[in-house]
Symmetry: C2
Subunit: 116 residues, 2 copies
DNA sequence: CTGTCATGCTATGTCTGTCGTGGTATTAGG
DNA sequence: CCTAATACCACGACAGACATAGCATGACAG
């Protein structure tokens, strides 16, 4: 198995994107590259998934879009995380901890090396 | 936060059910109770989700259904895990390990400060 | 100048798993 | 009789992921 079935990640795409927006705004293509590299090529988000996530999150108030006028040529839509987005992200982190605990009670691990 | 949003667990319901079928067959209601107790009430699978999971998994050959004739009165459909189901389960466990690694790269917060 | 590639985004419709709603049936207890 | 717990199922809605397709720019090779 090389990748990760998207069903598993479902619900965490938003979280990953918000993580990458935490320190500074970014845009689709860059986020896409970063997810790929940060996950060590293990997860590559689909374009449509990514852009629909942006749309959804903007509708939910987790991000704000804007255009960078200093750029010319290629039109980019940048996204900035909002306070609400930060709160949502942190909430998801807490949920992840909980989820992890729960799922692991149902996982037989014979191939887990080292840590607990 | 009390529970876990089902979007997060999505894709792991099957895994949890198969885990509980590993040693011996079981049936819907019991599985439901066991998920609740084993997750320490943190996750309660919805009935419809559970039964549709059984149907799906039987169609995929991960479980087989049968009736226990020694029981009378309440009609139960028991499910038994198949070899294919065991393989699928183990596959999911491996995937979980991978998923966990990936997701955690995007999680701020008490980052696994303890182990490793 | 034209073709191709990388960049950057959008529209449209399908698929799948979850879940809300509601129904059926048995057994036990008040 | 009524209710609660057990035990299951049908139906339809919904949301997120994704396949497919298209549009537009800029760089660079031939």
């Amino acid at each position: 198995m090389n990748g990760i079935s998207s069903d598993v990640i479902r619900g965490y795409n938003d979280t990953m994107i918000l993580y990458l927006l935490w320190d500074h705004p970014s845009y689709g293509y860059e986020i896409s590259k970063q997810i790929k590299s940060l996950s060590q090529e293990k997860y590559v988000i689909k374009e449509t998934t990514l852009y629909s996530a942006f749309t959804r999150m903007e509708k939910n108030g987790y991000v704000e879009s804007f255009n960078d006028d200093t750029e010319n040529g290629r039109r980019r839509t940048y996204y900035r995380i909002t306070e609400s987005g930060r709160a949502y992200y942190l909430d998801k982190c807490a949920e992840w901890t909980l989820t992890k605990e729960v799922v692991e009670r149902f996982i037989k691990e014979g191939n887990d090396s080292g840590n607990n």
